[in-house]
């Protein structure tokens, strides 16, 4: 049962990601991306990390994907259509992809991963809201705050860069 669920969710995730790469229409690519985020949220639910799953949906599918669609909508239509989705340099990325796949299959072979166990024994005990809060704000408070400040700097940097362009 867990195995079947795991495979369905993996197909959703990987299929959504492939849809992002392969669809010619940029809007459709954005919709496939949400599909993929949905699958990732499903994987988090299988890990009993419901808090992460819901944050995945709220932040990525709900906010970031809407932001991407908004940017595409306010862009000039001709600019959007003139951007090429594919280019002829597919050879080297494909090579890297094959190397990565070979690497992963080698690891799977070496550590003797049993496919029959897919989706089982995934539960991590107590990975819930309170645990995340305690770990973030008790043990890793300083790195967390530093990350927040870096994000703020990036935000202000983006504003400064665009302002310069206008004047």
């Amino acid at each position: 049962m867990e195995g079947i669920m795991f495979y369905i969710i993996s197909i959703i995730t990987v299929g959504g990601a492939l849809g992002v790469l392969l669809s010619r229409n940029p809007y459709r690519a954005a919709m496939w991306m949400i599909f993929s985020f949905f699958g990732i949220a499903g994987l988090f639910v299988m890990l009993h990390a419901q808090f992460n799953a819901m944050l995945q949906i709220i932040v990525y599918a709900g906010a970031i994907a809407v932001m991407i669609v908004l940017v595409m909508m306010v862009m000039d239509k001709r600019t959007l259509e003139s951007i090429k989705r594919f280019n002829p340099q597919a050879f080297w990325p494909a090579l890297i992809g094959i190397a990565l796949l070979a690497d992963l299959s080698f690891l799977a072979y070496k550590f003797k991963i049993n496919v029959g166990n897919a989706g089982k024994h995934l539960t991590i005990n107590g990975s819930n809201t309170q645990m995340i809060g305690e770990i973030l704000f008790k043990h890793y408070l300083l790195p967390f705050e530093v990350t927040a400040i870096i994000l703020l700097v990036a935000l202000i940097g983006a504003v400064v860069l665009t302002k310069k362009d206008i004047s």
Binding site: N25, Y27, R28, M31, I34, Q50, F51, M54, L55, I57, I58, A61, G62, A63, A65, V66, M67, V69, L70, M73, V74, N128, T129
Partner: protein
């Protein structure tokens, strides 16, 4: 057994909400009619009570027009998504206070119950906007639809942060994301008295979330015909209305649970209190419709980002400070 109970609950919830949507349209037309010195529906049945059934039947037999230039798969998917996600949010809403059974178990009157109810509802509400966005994209370059969707996207990025931040104050005070626990925390005094600013911000954001007057920008009739729904006809258009009315129910129930104490209240039983509060919020929507003019969407973004966001951040700082030093939060 549990799966069977959940399926039965699901069927009941979908049926009840569908009938609710039909009569919500009748109720709105009636109330808005009396507010504007008219009578409203009167001819079909007693006081027009059969009017919504006639409207629904009519929409089944309407011709289904699909524009030639439309992106067909997305054109079919858009109304389905617009109706599905509000229903998905509604299954986490309790329809009555939980029942304590004799053998120590608790029977919940919601299909889906978890420790993170509020986050789940927020997530589904966020996804519900994709039905509207997709409608504009799929309509094959129709300017009205596209402008409507564009406004919806701008609206989503402004209200969603406010909605989450306004809910954060009661969550901080109740120490839980569980709807039952939040109601439990308000036994003595409702959170609206502790958090008046958060309540006002939540009401503004929830009206923007359901795209109703004064924030009904995606479908502003005088400028955009019917906004994102312009190219849709018959049942497809009906599905957008379904989504919108179910969403109104979801945010009304959420507001009454989080800020008005859900099923707590003196004298009357909890069930009655709960539904009085929900119906009051649904009436509030119609009241606003009859009262306020529409905002421009840059005005909405100003309200959200320049007024409500700083206010909510200060409110959270104050709530956190007061909870840390043990003051009664006010």
């Amino acid at each position: 057994m549990e799966v069977l109970i959940a399926i039965i609950k699901l069927i009941i919830v979908v049926t009840v909400l569908s009938v609710y949507v039909m009569y919500a349209t009748w109720y709105e037309r009636k109330v808005i009619g009396h507010m504007q010195q008219r009578i409203g529906p009167k001819r079909v049945g007693w006081h027009g009570l059969l009017q919504p059934i006639a409207d629904t039947l009519k929409s089944f037999w309407k011709e289904d027009v699909i524009p030639d230039k439309a992106d067909k798969p997305l054109f079919w998917l858009a109304p389905a998504l617009a109706a599905t996600f509000p229903f998905a949010a509604a299954i986490a809403i309790p329809f009555a206070p939980p029942l304590h059974l004799a053998d120590g178990k608790i029977f919940y009157f919601s299909v889906f119950h978890s420790k993170i109810d509020i986050l789940y509802i927020l997530g589904m509400m966020g996804l519900a906007s994709f039905g509207v966005l997709m409608a504009g994209i799929a309509s094959g370059g129709s300017k009205y639809s596209f402008t409507g969707s564009q406004r919806e996207a701008a609206q989503v990025v402004s209200y969603e942060a406010i909605l989450a931040l306004a809910l954060l104050n009661p969550i901080l005070m109740a120490h839980s994301l569980n709807l039952e626990k939040i109601v439990e925390a308000q036994r003595h005094l409702w959170f609206v008295f502790y958090q008046p600013f958060a309540f006002v911000a939540f009401v503004i954001a929830m009206i923007a979330a359901t795209a109703r007057v004064p924030f009904d920008l995606p479908e502003a009739e005088p400028e955009l015909v019917a906004g994102h729904m312009t190219e849709f006809s018959g049942l497809k258009m009906g599905l957008f209305f379904f989504g919108q009315y179910v969403m109104i129910f979801v945010v009304s129930a959420l507001a009454s649970i989080v800020f008005l104490g859900g099923w707590t209240g003196p004298i009357l039983p909890g069930f009655v209190w709960y539904w009085i509060k929900i119906l009051a919020f649904i009436f509030l929507y119609t009241w606003f419709w009859g009262t306020f003019p529409r905002y421009r969407y840059d005005q909405l973004m100003d309200i959200a980002w320049k007024a409500l966001l700083p206010l909510m951040v200060l409110n959270i700082l104050w709530t956190g400070f007061a909870l840390a030093v043990g003051l009664p939060v006010l």
